[in-house]
């Protein structure tokens, strides 16, 4: 899936399985996408769609019983799935950084904020004198909109939003090219949410980095990302620029997701998506969404649709968009 500018991150056919006594859960089942510089890409989906697994996989932090079973993750040209553990350790934070969900508990409770920023830099080989380190810390805190005295606090003295911004400060301290934000605002109220997202946007532009925002909040995605990828049952079912998606969702699932957002203009009942996501142990034959899809066709029950570019820069995996020429092709 090649896009206009050379990609800073190229994910190709990624598979991540969790091996349980009951079988292999295919959390990520053949996901490919590119990320270009300065771009904000969103990955949205329900719980269990595989989006958080992708975030961890990109950091190569999948732990047993999970395992990356196949595919390539090329970060600035290097396939991180092939490098040694030590090399991966150095790549983390320096080239690709994670801002995790659960800011409540992401920081070490017993050490000061200052130490937690400095130890990251130090373990990546930066030799800093005491003064240099403190200056760097002060500057980083300033970039995320925090006062310098936050450095001497312990995490429990900070509010949720402040903690999350500290995590962002840590994530940018080595100027990575890719920042993954995994549901960074899920535990925060809307006012603080906005602060944190604005901070993220600001630092991203300052660094000319790219952001992957993983989440389930379509509203948040609409306000923040350039392009949006919709995940369902471990696969990408639609990837398009965000405005296009909201103006005209192609995949039925995307349509239902957008439709479930309450609107300020129309009054009506809440609309959810009937049914439950499929078990990733036993995917239904054919398209995984067909049991819940309002536009399902007979073809959907037997053939798994592949993701294709059906319009310029609009990718979707759905038989609705198979041209007559492809209806006889095998998947």
């Amino acid at each position: 899936m090649v896009v206009a500018a050379p990609a800073v991150l190229h994910v190709d056919d990624l598979h991540v399985f969790y091996h349980t006594p009951d079988g292999s859960v295919k959390a990520v089942d053949g996901v490919s996408f590119d990320l270009i510089p300065n771009e904000r890409l969103g990955l949205v989906g329900e719980s269990g769609s595989g989006k958080s697994t992708i975030a961890l996989a990109l950091m190569r932090m999948i732990r047993p019983p999970g395992k990356i079973e196949g595919g390539r993750i090329e970060l600035e040209g290097v396939d991180v799935l092939t490098v040694s553990d030590e090399q991966m350790r150095r790549i983390r934070l320096a080239s690709i950084a994670l801002v995790a969900q659960g800011a409540m508990n992401s920081l070490n409770p017993v050490t000061k904020v200052r130490e937690q920023i400095i130890d990251a830099m130090r373990d990546h080989g930066e030799k800093l004198s005491g003064k240099e380190a403190n200056d760097r810390v002060a500057s980083l805190l300033d970039q995320v909109g925090l006062r310098p005295d936050v450095a001497d606090r312990h995490p429990h003295e900070l509010s949720g939003g402040m903690k999350q911004r500290v995590c962002i400060a840590i994530a940018i301290c080595l100027r990575p090219k890719v920042i993954i934000a995994d549901e960074p605002t899920s535990a925060l109220d809307v006012v603080v949410q906005r602060q944190v997202m604005e901070t993220l946007e600001r630092v991203q532009e300052l660094l000319n980095a790219s952001v992957i925002l993983v989440g389930h909040d379509m509203g948040l995605m609409a306000q923040f990302v350039h392009r949006l990828g919709v995940m369902y049952a471990g696969r990408l079912v639609e990837v398009s620029p965000v405005n296009d998606i909201f103006a005209e969702p192609l995949h039925p699932y995307t349509e239902l997701l957008i439709g479930s957002l309450p609107s300020l203009e129309h009054k009506g009942d809440f609309r959810g998506i009937p049914g439950l996501p499929p078990s990733l142990l036993q995917r239904p034959v054919g398209c995984s969404f067909h049991p819940r899809c309002p536009r399902a066709m007979p073809r959907c029950t037997v053939e798994d649709p592949q993701i294709q570019e059906v319009r310029p820069n609009r990718w979707v995996a759905c038989h609705l968009y198979d041209g007559p020429a492809t209806s006889t092709e095998t998947a």
């Binding site: 350790r89 409540m104 992401s106 017993v110 130890d119 312990h154």
Partner: protein
Amino acid sequence: MRAEYLFKRLGMFVLILWLASTVNFILPRLGGQDPIRAQLGAQAAMGGNSQVGMKEMIAEYDKRFGLDKPLIEQYLTYLNDTLHLEFNFSMSAYPTKVIDIIWRSLPWTIVLLGVTTLLAWLLGTILGALLTQPNAPRILRFILAPILTLSAIPFFLLGLLLIYLLGFQLKWFPLSGGFDQGIVPGLDPKVIANMAYHSILPALSIILASIGFWTLGMRGVMVSTQGEDYLLFAEAKGLRKTTVFSRYAIRNALLPQLTALALALGNIVSGAVLVEVVFQYPGVGSLLYQSIRASDFYMIQGVVFIIIVAIGLATLVLDLIYPLLDPRISYARK
């Protein structure tokens, strides 16, 4: 905020001391017949060596705690005595004062207990932490099972076994006592070496029987700590393995492990008392045993009180160390 914590802890300490002395005061007087007075009388009637000084002691006792005195006055006298560590004369070793005998025995117990408890805690904690690392030396895994089995056995039982195996059969260590007969305990290096030699078996009993507990505890704490989000984030930060292990995992796991130490002190001391009995080690444990056998009430009361004070102090010290390690404590009220 820090001051409030300090006062609360000190208050607990004082409360415990008060409770201990009050209970010591009330209990003998509950059953109708005062066992202390009875013992004094019985010993006086026995004649011979045990009679020495009984008359004086009985007179003294009646003067201070006689039935004609109002209870509250007796109580206050008693509290005052206890505060000054005035536990009267030993009934079985008159005219030696209880407190003097205790002072002679206390250092032995403190050294034995202090060294072994700290050693066992340190070694167990390190072992427990290492056991959670996949690249730890493999022998460690084999040590775990025997250590755990040993920890199920009470200290003094292990002591008996060690006396038999290492002292009696193999003759590697002395069978009892704190020092060879004929030696006067002192600060002469040879004497100290001899004393240390005698302490090895009692120390081993305590260390071997308690290390399993600390190991298991630390391993459990490390496992829960490793499930915490901040460890995930630490790995995502690309920190070195040693940094994550020491500054993030162990540093946090030490806190509950230290709490466990404070909570276990009472049991450790109880166990050590029995160890001293088994080894005839000249600490307060043996003292307690001998005074129970002689029904020397004053001595028993004195020893029990001192032990409670010692544990209370140790707990207090640990409580005060804790906020230094856990910054959340100064602020959290409950």
